[in-house]
C-alpha cells in the first residue's frame, strides 16, 4: 500500500516516483553558503550588540542614568534608527546582506513594523496601516508574551517568585 501511495499518477499516463523527481530537483538546487551567512550574521549581530553596550555606557556616563534606564534609552535609539533607515529605503538592503544579524536584534523588530506600515499606508490609517502593521511583528509579540508567561510561571514555582 505504501509503495502504491508513493507513486504519483501523472495524468499523461506516465508514472513518476515522487522520490525520483525530488532527487532530480535536489541535484539542481543552488548551494547556500550557510557558513558564510552565519559568519556575517554573527559579526553584524555582534556589532549591533556592541553598539547597544556603548550606548548604555554613553547614556549612563553622560546623562547620569541608572543602567536599567540607560538600557531603555539604548533600545529606543536602536529602534529609532532602524525605523528611520527602513523609511529612507536602504535598511532592506542591509537585511539582505546581514540576514539574521539584523533581523534577530531589536532592529529587526522595528524594521518589520516600519516596513509593513510603509507598505499599507495607502490603504488608510485604520484598514491599512493599523490592520497590517503587526503582520510580521504580531507573531513575535504573541509568542513573546506566551513564553514570558510560561517561564515566569516556572520561575515562580521553582524559585518562589524571587
Amino acid at each position: 500500500m505504501y509503495i502504491f501511495l508513493s507513486f504519483i499518477h501523472n495524468k499523461s499516463g506516465d508514472i513518476v516516483e515522487k522520490k525520483l523527481y525530488d532527487k532530480l530537483v535536489m541535484s539542481h538546487k543552488p548551494i547556500e553558503h550557510r557558513g558564510q551567512n552565519a559568519f556575517i550574521a554573527f559579526l553584524v549581530g555582534g556589532m549591533v550588540g556592541v553598539m547597544g553596550q556603548l550606548l548604555i555606557e554613553f547614556y549612563s556616563y553622560y546623562l547620569g542614568l541608572s543602567s536599567s534606564d540607560a538600557s531603555v534609552f539604548m533600545i529606543i535609539t536602536l529602534i529609532f534608527f532602524a525605523s528611520l533607515f527602513t523609511a529612507l529605503g536602504f535598511f532592506d538592503k542591509w537585511v539582505k546582506f546581514a540576514r539574521c544579524g539584523l533581523i534577530i536584534p531589536i532592529t529587526g523588530f522595528a524594521h518589520s513594523m516600519t516596513s509593513a506600515a510603509i507598505e499599507y499606508k495607502k490603504e488608510g490609517f485604520v484598514t491599512g496601516l493599523g490592520a497590517n502593521m503587526f503582520k510580521l511583528a504580531g507573531t513575535v509579540i504573541l509568542y513573546g508574551v506566551v513564553s514570558a508567561y510560561i517561564f515566569g510561571f516556572i520561575r515562580l514555582i521553582i524559585m518562589g517568585g524571587v
Binding site: H28, K29, T114
Partner: protein, 330 residues
C-alpha cells in the same frame, strides 16, 4: 488539447518595462521604460494598471489602429481579482475576458484570442498581461521594504506590461497552433523554488503538443519556456531526458533571457511573472521570426498556481503550462 490555426496573425506588440528590466540585456528592444517603481502614480497597484494601459496604447499606436477596430480585450495579471486587467478594460471600453493561469496567462490569452479569430467571430483582439515586482511581493510574500532573505533558487517577478494585437489580416508572423495544458501536481511545496514546481508542467505540455502535432523537438528552431529560471531550466532538461528520453537542444528560458544574471544579483535565479515571457517573446523572439532568423518557435509559458494560504496549510503547489507555436508567415 491542440488546435491548429490557419489565419491568425500577430499584428503588433507594445512592451513597457520597469527599471530592472531596462538594465537587462534586452533593454534597447523595449518600447518604453520607467526609472522608478511607481510610474508617476501614487500606489504600486495603480502603477501596474498604468503599465498595462501604456502597453495597450503603445501596441495601438504602433499598428496605427484605433480602439474602434478592436473587437475584444483579453487580459490577465497576478494581482488579486486580476485588478490591473479589469481597470484597464474599463478605460478601454471594450468587451473583456479576464483570465488567470499565473505566469502562463499570456499563452492562455493568445490561444483564446486565436480561437476567436480563427472561428471568424472577431477580427482584431488585444491580449495583455502585466505584473509588478512589488505588488507581487506585497501580495504573496513579505512587505517589500522588509527585504526578507531568499534562497538562490527564488525568482524575481518582472515588472512590465505587454500587449499584442492578433488579427486575421496577413502579417509576418502567424500563430500556427496552440496546446492547452493540464494542471499537474508533482508534490512540490517550496514557493521559493518555482522552477521545480513548473518544470513538469512544461514537460507535460511540450510532450502533448509534439504528440498531437506529430512532430519532434527538431521541428522547432527554438523551444522557449516561460519562467523556470536558471535551475528550473536544468531540471526540465534533465526531466525530459530521464522521463521521455528527449534531448532539448534548441531550448531556452525567458526568465533567464530577460536579465543579466551575472550582474543583476537581485534577480537570483531569473525573472518570473506573467509578463516575463511576454517581454522576451514580444521584444526579441518576434523580431527574430520577422527577420527569418527563426522559422518556428514553440513558446511554452509556465505558471505556478500558487496560493499562499494553501502553502501555509501544507498543500502542494500545482502548475500549468500552455503552448503556442509561432511561425514565420513569409
Amino acid at each position: 488539447m491542440t488546435t491548429k490555426y490557419k489565419d491568425v496573425y500577430i499584428k503588433d506588440t507594445g512592451v513597457v518595462v520597469g527599471p530592472y528590466e531596462a538594465e537587462g540585456p534586452l533593454s534597447k528592444r523595449f518600447d518604453k521604460h520607467y526609472d522608478d517603481m511607481y510610474f508617476e502614480t501614487d500606489s504600486l497597484e495603480s502603477a501596474e494598471i498604468k503599465l498595462m494601459k501604456d502597453s495597450v496604447k503603445m501596441a495601438l499606436s504602433k499598428s496605427k489602429m484605433e480602439l474602434k477596430d478592436i473587437d475584444m480585450f483579453i487580459a490577465g495579471d497576478l494581482q488579486n481579482q486580476i485588478t490591473s486587467s479589469c481597470y484597464t478594460a474599463e478605460k478601454l471600453h471594450l468587451p473583456f475576458l479576464g483570465i488567470f493561469s499565473a505566469c502562463a496567462t499570456n499563452t492562455e490569452g493568445l490561444s483564446i484570442a486565436a480561437s476567436y479569430i480563427e472561428s471568424k467571430i472577431c477580427r482584431n483582439i488585444i491580449v495583455s498581461v502585466s505584473s509588478h515586482n512589488m505588488v507581487a511581493e506585497k501580495q504573496f510574500r513579505n512587505p517589500t521594504e522588509y527585504g526578507a532573505p531568499k534562497p538562490g533558487s527564488a525568482t524575481f517577478t518582472a515588472t512590465g506590461g505587454a500587449s499584442c494585437i492578433l488579427t486575421n489580416e496577413k502579417s509576418k508572423i502567424r500563430i500556427e497552433s496552440s496546446t492547452i495544458g493540464i494542471p499537474v501536481d508533482y508534490k512540490q511545496t517550496d514557493p521559493l523554488n518555482m522552477g521545480s514546481v513548473m518544470a513538469p508542467a512544461a514537460a507535460d505540455t511540450i510532450i502533448r503538443h509534439l504528440k498531437d502535432m506529430n512532430r519532434t523537438v527538431d521541428d522547432y528552431d527554438l523551444i522557449l519556456t516561460g519562467d523556470l529560471g536558471i535551475y528550473g531550466k536544468e531540471i526540465l532538461k534533465d526531466f525530459m531526458k530521464t522521463e521521455y528520453n528527449i534531448e532539448l537542444k534548441n531550448y531556452n528560458d525567458c526568465g533567464v533571457m530577460l536579465y543579466d544574471l551575472d550582474n543583476q544579483k537581485e534577480v537570483q535565479a531569473g525573472g518570473s511573472g506573467p509578463v516575463c515571457s511576454a517581454l522576451v517573446v514580444y521584444s526579441d523572439i518576434l523580431k527574430k521570426i520577422e527577420n527569418k532568423e527563426l522559422k518556428r518557435v514553440l513558446y511554452v509559458a509556465t505558471g505556478a498556481l500558487f496560493n499562499p494560504s494553501m502553502v501555509f496549510q501544507k498543500q502542494n503547489i500545482l502548475s500549468i503550462a500552455h503552448a503556442i507555436s509561432l511561425e514565420s508567415a513569409l
